[in-house]
Symmetry: C2
Subunit: 236 residues, 2 copies
């Protein structure tokens, strides 16, 4: 479910994010789920506690997976995080990373314009390069060894981000939560004996609250393949 009638969440208050996250989650759980993955860093940072307590299925967020991906690189002491204003202000990544390694140093910078850039498809050229440089320069100055992409939109800009890191003479590794999130979902399903017994790849069903056509296009850009029919739903 993409709440395209109310995105972006990253610039809103914690209370508003929690209210919207609750609407979305309730809608999905009522459709019959065995597990809910909150694939948005802002919601994971601000609402995962409330959702886990209030919903009757296991809930996994992307913050822990992102933190684990960052800590996979042995000996890492200085980690940079870019994310939405909401994610950065929540301090969720700082808490999660500090739990994984007590002596890690975390440097954050909100990068709010990257979301509209990706939504507009401005992912090559001067504008994304200049915006990315402005956001990562303060983190490169702190000599971070890992740069964690703390927003699900940012991996689309990974080539730009990596090029700008090199241009600023940083050798930091750029990581995101995707692979480690998928692994975490598998492990959680296995642990709770929820793995499917069917021997196929399952199906993908996409719902949005507005403009299914635009979502289909964006999703194609993110995933490099079509997501098929996108259903418009009313969750209010």
């Amino acid at each position: 479910l993409g709440d395209s009638a109310r995105v972006p969440y990253g610039t809103r208050s914690p209370d508003t994010v929690r209210r919207y996250a609750w609407n979305c989650s309730r809608f999905l759980v009522d459709r019959g789920l065995k597990m809910l993955v909150v694939a948005c860093n802002t919601v994971s940072a601000l609402a995962i506690g409330a959702l886990s307590e209030g919903l009757e299925v296991p809930v996994l967020g992307v913050i822990r997976a992102g933190a684990r991906a960052a800590m996979k690189h042995p000996g890492v002491g200085r980690i940079g995080v870019i994310g939405t204003a909401g994610t950065v202000q929540s301090g969720a990544y700082v808490r999660e990373l500090s739990q994984l390694a007590r002596d890690v140093q975390v440097f954050q910078n909100p990068a709010p314009l990257l979301v509209p850039l990706v939504e507009e498809g401005w992912i090559v050229g001067d504008v994304p390069h200049l915006a990315v440089r402005r956001y990562i320069a303060p983190l490169v100055e702190k000599r971070v060894e890992v740069l964690l992409l703390g927003c699900t939109h940012y991996p689309v800009l990974r080539p730009v981000i990596e090029e700008e890191m090199r241009a600023l003479n940083s050798t930091a590794v750029v990581v995101d939560s995707a692979t480690s999130m998928a692994r975490e979902v598998y492990d959680a399903l296995a642990e709770q004996n929820l793995l499917s017994r069917r021997n196929d790849n399952g199906t993908l069903q996409c719902c949005v609250t507005d403009l299914p056509g635009n979502f289909g296009e964006s999703a194609g850009r993110f995933l490099g393949r079509s997501v098929g029919h996108v259903e418009k739903v009313d969750i209010s």
Copy 2:
């Protein structure tokens, strides 16, 4: 009232814009108004008919005022309009300008990234200049004589827009709806015998649906002065 819990409207579908516009207008009219000004181009373009029919007070939108401001320049034949995707797709400016002068030619280009740039306060420097250039270049190529700023955020970028027009060797005049809107409100109040009989400047009351602090800051940037206390309200 600023619906900061659900902005931006310019990227949403007509149905969603109408639903949100109705919420906001109902809330304001229920507080007791003698007139409602829709100071958003997207809502004016997509919902002014529904609001005028459904509400019990006169409703004025910014599209007509913007079109009149553009036509003030005698002999104008070619007009460029930048606005949100919603405003441009609605064709509202094309209709309104054609009613004022049958032989006018209107060229439009959506400029969606300018809203987040202004919201982030990136109103000087390379990024706004490059983004503005990209949006206005196709209109300059059409040799427009007037460039109409069809979104209430854009006047904040007027210095950048005017500089880029000059850099592209255009001598077009840049106009927005603000002054002609104020005049239209005065005329409509006078015509309907609704002018205040009190002899003071009135008071400004600002409400938002999220993050009153951020709104206060942005409004200061737009207006060049403080707007005083901002009230957070729930309109859902």
